[in-house]
Symmetry: C2
Subunit: 228 residues, 2 copies
């Protein structure tokens, strides 16, 4: 699909490998958009895509991760449908799957981590307080797509509502990209670790026993906390 | 990875395209395993993989979907680690992402479907009754990996605990495979539709407003229900 496009609109989180697949003669349009500092509004992006399609271009809209998980693809699909433009969706590997693979862990564990929840920190911010109590469940793995500034609030609330301070958390940034960072910590150390992992940009954290590292790693971490 | 393997162990849900990538000289070992009728136990599969790796083979373990989401990859990773065998995980497109793409929908909607939960119907069966009340949330999209027999129970409970009978549900079977089926229905018609979609084998249902089809389709569906 990428190779056959005459124009490609791509996000800030798209890897170099995908960009390299674009045909030499095709137009390349970066439309980076990050929570908190939108370089272009979703409406402006929709208008750009539709304008290109109506002009007869073969348009590819390239996103990092999977477009159907916090990718705002519904808004782009609906805008196209309203103009009678047919759009095909190519699914991708969502960031949580890539992060778990990179850390050699599984997001679910048979019998003990039987549920998996995806959310964004945006739904933890502002007026609409999430139902923290419902998020605290030992049989659930929580994958939270967030900005680094949300770490302290998430950690404090999950512990206040009953998760153990020693709950393992995988912290990742730039998964599948050259500058990727990936480390495992404990829920009570989350804010500290997030500061060290990501200078800026989005962070994905995965909370729950499925992220448990080997017993020896855990013992070293616990000894460090005791020494602090 | 697939092309460089000297032996490939693959699941029943792996597509023909992936099988065709296996080198002609490599051994191909089907180890199909389906809930309810295990052709091989997980322990037997672990033993096969480890035996091949210790014999010096370049082993690829091929699964449908993403191995970290209800794929029991943790058990295989841990078994390998216990034998000092290094295993790399290649993440995949999970079935829910492929199903949403196939239906032209998104699993999340900004502002209105802000949470996404994955679960299996197994965690709805047997003694351990799930917390149905916690599953009923208008801002959540529920993706349930299940056998077709679980449809009536899931539909009945979600409605009893407060979801509207008209909540849209995407029902899919064999996503990304030649015999794939994909249809949108209402929660109260789920059991009926699942019977029509899948003769056997696993079904994925996606429940929530993010699966809403165009208003015209919905009107036709509602008229049908009224006529019944």
């Amino acid at each position: 699909l990428i190779e056959s496009a005459s124009i490609v609109f791509y996000d800030a989180l798209v890897g170099h490998g995908a960009i390299e697949m674009i045909a030499p003669h095709a137009a390349r349009v970066p439309i980076g958009k990050r929570a908190g500092r939108h370089s272009q509004s979703q409406d402006a992006i929709n208008a750009l895509l539709i304008h290109a399609a109506l002009a007869g271009e073969r348009v590819v809209r390239l996103k990092g991760g999977d477009p159907s998980i916090f990718g705002r693809s519904a808004e782009e699909i609906d805008a196209h449908a309203a103009h009678g433009i047919c759009a095909l969706i190519c699914p991708g590997v969502t960031t949580a799957s890539a992060a778990a693979a990179s850390a050699g862990r599984s997001l679910t564990l048979r019998g003990s981590a039987r549920h998996l929840r995806f959310m964004t920190a945006q739904s933890c911010d502002g007026d609409a307080e999430p139902d923290w109590a419902s998020l605290v469940d030992l049989a659930t793995t929580l994958a939270i797509y967030m900005e680094r500034g949300s770490a302290a609030r998430i950690s404090r609330n999950l512990i206040a509502y009953g998760l153990s301070p020693t709950t393992p958390v995988l912290v990742t940034s730039g998964v599948s990209l050259p500058g990727k960072r990936c480390t495992t910590t404990r829920l009570d150390l989350l804010a500290l670790v997030v500061k060290g992992v990501a200078a800026a940009g989005p962070v994905l954290i995965i909370v729950g026993k499925a992220m448990c590292t080997r017993a020896t790693d855990q013992a070293v971490l616990n000894a460090l906390v005791t020494a602090l």
